[in-house]
Amino acid sequence: MSELSRKCVPFTPYDRELSRATVALVTAAGVHQKDQPPFNIADELGDLTFRIISPEAKVEDLMVTHHHYDHSDADQDVNVVFPIDPIRVLASEGFISGVAREHIGFMGYTMQLKRMYEETAPQIAEEIDKRSRADLVVLTGG
């Protein structure tokens, strides 16, 4: 299981060119595919689960379930919190090499910070490391 750095800034260098990088998006903005279960916003403790989002997903395939920020703009265009179209533009321009095999969405609101930090975050890191195969990750919130 992956471990998160506790004491230092978890800075990982990246020495290659951006044009050789495969990039994944990881968002705390509550984004998921419409064909996936929504995040549980009824539980006041929050929802510690995450969803794997296909790199092929289109804007109309995605939605936001999150009750701790105003996502009316994201409902209109999810790219305002989850830049799935811009990342394709940058890949097509050759600014980056490509889009990773998986993106990740979760709902950043939680009262269970310790479990989010010690369980969910390492699981997401593991997913990125083993299956998304991203060289770089762009993180966004709501």
Binding site: T12, Y69, V80, V89, V137, V138
Partner: protein, 73 residues
């Protein structure tokens, strides 16, 4: 394990600063829910993403939040 290079786009710089992210861009004045800009402003959204990714190649300033102005927001 190997680390994963990350860059954060934040619209809550005071909150994000507490977590000392390794690389972070704050598009100045962007509201919560508008991390990349406003709906359908694809060129602006793409510019913000490009700028965030570009931090990967800039001299490291771990824990600092880099602010940028986007006057067309």
């Amino acid at each position: 394990m190997r680390g994963i290079p990350t860059v954060l786009i934040t619209v809550s710089p005071d909150v994000s600063r507490q977590m000392r992210p390794p690389r972070s861009l704050y598009p100045k004045g962007f509201r919560i829910g508008n991390s990349l800009g406003r709906p359908l402003m694809r060129e602006l959204q793409t510019r913000v993403l490009r700028d965030a990714l570009s931090l990967i190649k800039e001299p490291p300033r771990p824990g600092e939040i880099i602010e940028r102005d986007y006057s067309d927001y």
